[in-house]
Each structure stands twice: as structure tokens, then as C-alpha cells.
């Protein structure tokens, strides 16, 4: 461990610090902890600006990653650190799902169910609490994010308010959790989100596994349906979508359904189709500063 400035974990912390790297006027940290929601160890990254390292409460952004990702992708490739350093914002990136731990070098090996399809199982989850075996034992990512991790972050770091954002499947998670739990978050945005999981091929495959045939559970886990149901919750939400995104063109994202839901809900939506951009982190880095600034402004107003 090197270069850790002032931040101290609580005396009885559940967190184990895995790394700390100085980055702009702040530090990029990684932590792991044993989760009661998923019954596995979970890892997250957190960027702490110097204000937070010195104990001053800062607004935070919770970023939910997309299919196949873990905390590394966004932490390495989204380029959020500079603007968060400049504004004094905390940026948190959890993993997308519980993971099995190899038996080769660990006596407390954990076996978590998986699926050959990359949009179901480890690296997926859709940030829901699964009700069907074998998923329901570990795939409780809604509870993990909005209860367990949420409380842990608030107890261990000087967090003032939390906004939620995410990419692709994680964009769906941000819209879903932001509107199911509006008391937990002060702002919502999304990058290239899946907008209606229960109506996309990816989401239908996942929800068949996680929820079985009970379509009321599917609707309760569909971001656009939830927005339409609960109505306006935020003064505005920001969504960026690449205009040359193959997944948009093949119908996985259904941005139009989000637009219709926001109209019905009278939820102000800034929806930007960015011509020429695709689904990659090259797009995310291009617009991430606008999302950081959106959450920062909403935090100031809250």
C-alpha cells in the first residue's frame, strides 16, 4: 500500500483496501468485502478527491457497469478522475455480479452459478434480486447496491449525496434503481442504456433465468415501465446514446421506449443521440464529463 493520504476506515470496518494510487488531486482506491447479499466477496473501486481524503463530505456518483465488465473497465477507460478531482466528487464503481472464486489458491472457494451466454450470470445480473434457483442464492444485486453497499459506503466514506449512472445494462440499472428508490439518490443519468430490459432479447433471456415466467416481476424490473409507473422523480435526467451503436440498431437498447415513458411520466429527459459514436468506452470518455457535471449540479441543488 502506498501514497494513502488521510482517509481512515472505521475501527471495525468490513473493508479490505486492495490498492491506492495518487491520481490528479485525489486517489484511486480499490476495496473488497464479504457481502451478505451475494454471499461472496465483492470488489469496488472508489475515487476520492483530496477533500474527501481530508474528511470533508463530497457528492458521489455510483456507476453501474455493463455486461461482461467489472470495476476495472470504467476505472481504467472512462477517464472520470480529472473532472471528479476538479469538482471534488467521489466516483464509485461496483462489480456487475457475484463471482466464483477459484479453488486453486483459496480454501474458502465460492461457487456461483453461471451461464454460457454473456448476458446471463457472472458479469451480468441486471442489478435485480433473482427469485429463481439457482440464481436467487447469490444474484441479489439490487439489495447489494441500494442497501448493503449503499450503507457501507455512507459509513466508511464522507459522502454527502449519491447520484446514480451506468452504461448499457448498467444504464438500465441506474434508471431502474434511481426510479425505484428515489429517496436514495439525488440524480440519475445513463450512457447507452438498455432502456426496457423486459422487452429486449438480452433482458428477456436474463429475466427468464432470474424471475421465471411471472411477468409482474419482469415489469417491476423494467426501467421504462417503472418510470411510467412512478412518475417524475428528478428535475431532469441525462441520457447519451451513440448514433452508430450496433446494439441500438439491433434493438437491444430501445431508447424510444425510455423517451415515451418519460413523456407519460412528465419526467424531464435530456436525450442526446451522438452521431458517429458506438457502444464503447471511447464514447463513454467522450461524454463522461457532462455526466459528472450533471450529477454535480443536481447535488448542489439538493
Amino acid at each position: 500500500m502506498n501514497n494513502s493520504y488521510n482517509h481512515s476506515l472505521s475501527a471495525n470496518t468490513q473493508l479490505t483496501q486492495k490498492s491506492a494510487n495518487r491520481c490528479f488531486n485525489g486517489e484511486q482506491h480499490y476495496y473488497s468485502h464479504q457481502s451478505t447479499s451475494t454471499k461472496t466477496p465483492m470488489t469496488f473501486s472508489i475515487y476520492l478527491p483530496d477533500e474527501a481524503l481530508a474528511g470533508q463530505r463530497c457528492p458521489a456518483i455510483l456507476y453501474l457497469s455493463g455486461l461482461t465488465c467489472n470495476a476495472d473497465n470504467v476505472t481504467h477507460k472512462a477517464h472520470f478522475q480529472q473532472r471528479c478531482s476538479e469538482l471534488g466528487m467521489i466516483f464509485i464503481a461496483p462489480d456487475t455480479s457475484p463471482r466464483s472464486i477459484s479453488t486453486s489458491d483459496n480454501d474458502d472457494a465460492v461457487e456461483v452459478p453461471n451461464d454460457d451466454r454473456y448476458f446471463v450470470g457472472q458479469g451480468a445480473s441486471y442489478y435485480v434480486d433473482a427469485t429463481e434457483a439457482p440464481w436467487s442464492d447469490n444474484f441479489n444485486m439490487q439489495s447489494y447496491i441500494v442497501e448493503e453497499l449503499y450503507d457501507l459506503l455512507r459509513s466508511e466514506f464522507p459522502i454527502e449525496t449519491i447520484g446514480v449512472t451506468g452504461h448499457s445494462m448498467g444504464g438500465h440499472g441506474a434508471l431502474l434503481l434511481g426510479f425505484k428508490f428515489p429517496g436514495k439518490f439525488v440524480s440519475v443519468s445513463a450512457l447507452s442504456p438498455v432502456c426496457a430490459a423486459s422487452e429486449s432479447a438480452w433482458g428477456q433471456a436474463a429475466y427468464t433465468e432470474y424471475f421465471g415466467e411471472d411477468k409482474s416481476l419482469w415489469s417491476d424490473a423494467d426501467a421504462s415501465k417503472i418510470i411510467e409507473k412512478v412518475g417524475q422523480q428528478y428535475s431532469s435526467i441525462l441520457v447519451d446514446q451513440g448514433g452508430a451503436d450496433d446494439f441500438l440498431l439491433e434493438g437491444q437498447l430501445q431508447t424510444d421506449k425510455l423517451q415515451q415513458a418519460c413523456e407519460k411520466a412528465k419526467q424531464p429527459l435530456t436525450l442526446r443521440y451522438q452521431g458517429g459514436n458506438d457502444h464503447s468506452y471511447y464514447f463513454i470518455q467522450t461524454v463522461i464529463n457532462d455526466h459528472i457535471e450533471h450529477h454535480w449540479r443536481m447535488a448542489q441543488l439538493s
Copy 2:
């Protein structure tokens, strides 16, 4: 292939485009080609701002990566794209060495010598032309960079001037090639460079393999010795070094030798020790904009 704007390769190009992703006001591209210097396929990444995609000549930065890296590390983690987009600069990242190609899915498999130590062989090279077997057949990275790739880049992309920079072993490469071939480059900078390869443990292990016992070859491939020998070549050079860099503390980098060489050579040097920063890409992203701006200013003056 998606989203390629206007750039066209020459009619008889040796380059194969591997990818193109829109990123800020420009595109991140990857190319591969068969190298006559290394007798292997070589891959590089190039960021082209819209000015370059439209055929307008732009200043370019050639970034030489450090040990164990390939073009991906800097392209994903250094966060250069935004500032290069804003200034209209091209950013080029070659691989660190020739590589073997697996026989499993390729009839034209290439076998390149390697070494178990990560600082010799594939992922290393020090950007020199090796004289000793088995390295001398393929490890001709000096010729690859300053002749073959240099000419290829100039013929295929609208490059106005080229500045050279790099990290760690690649920082040594930038200093070495910048001062051995000052007619090729308009500017030099380095991030956390190895400053005197012939006097560090890493470099001595590599040069024993690449050059054998002829110490005159070692001196000709030592950045600080070359700077002292050739004297001032640039109005100033910029070097950033993390103050909490373990490799500095264990003597691999020897920044003091660069400082002494520049003093003797009357080569103006801006050397910044950045307290708390380590050797990682979290440090590189923290200072990369200053390096981009250094090369941009030098290009304007040239």
C-alpha cells in the same frame, strides 16, 4: 469497421486497419502491418483528430510504451484523446517489441525469441537494434521506429511534425531516439523514464543480451550518455517523475543522471518531481495533458 470518416490509406498501403472508434472530435484507430525491421507483424494505435481525418496536416506525438506494455495500455489508460482532440494533434502508440504469433490459428506462425525476465525480450526491447543472437534477427526496434514506422506514418497520415515521448523504458527510448535523431523530431518529453539504461539493473540485463560485452554499444544506447555527447538539441525538454515511485527508490530510473547530463550538455530541462505519485498510468493520466501541450507548443515554434 464502423464510423470511419474521411481518412483514406494510400492505394498500395501496407497497413491493415483493425478498428476505428469515434472519440471526442476524432477517431481512435488501430493498424497492423508486416515489418521488414522485425520480420514480424507489428500493431500500432493512432488517434486522428477531425482535422487529420479531413486531410489537414497536424503535429503528431509518438509515444513509446514501457516494459510489458503494448499499444493498448496507453490507448486505454493515459487519457490523451480529449486534449489531442482539442488541439488537433495526432497521437501514435507502437508496440514495445516484436511478438511471436501462436501456431494454433495461423499458418504463417512467427517465432520470436523471448526471456523469462520481463525486462528482456518480448514486451521489452529498449528501442535498440540488437547485435547479438538470438535477438539481432528481430529486435531491431530503433530501425523500426525511426526509419520504417516513421516513414510509413508520414506516407499514410497527414503528419506535419513529430515529437517523441514515452514512459519508463519508453521514456528512455524517447530521450535516446530524440537525441540520436534530432532531425526526425521537433520535441522530446518523458514520463518516469529510465534515464541511463546502461547503469540500471534492468538495462544491464537487457543490454548484456542485446549487445553482449561491447560497452561502446551500451554507451551508444544510453540516453544520458548520448545527451552529454551530442549536447543541446531542443529549446527545452519536459520530464515528469513521481516522487513515490518504487522504481525510482530502488535505483532503476536514475533521474539524477539525466539532470547531470542535461547540465553538461546545456540542454534546458524542466524536471518535475510530483510528490505522492507512483509509476502507474494513474500518474501518466495526471500529467499527460502537460506533455501534449509541450509538444504542441514546440510544433508551433518549429
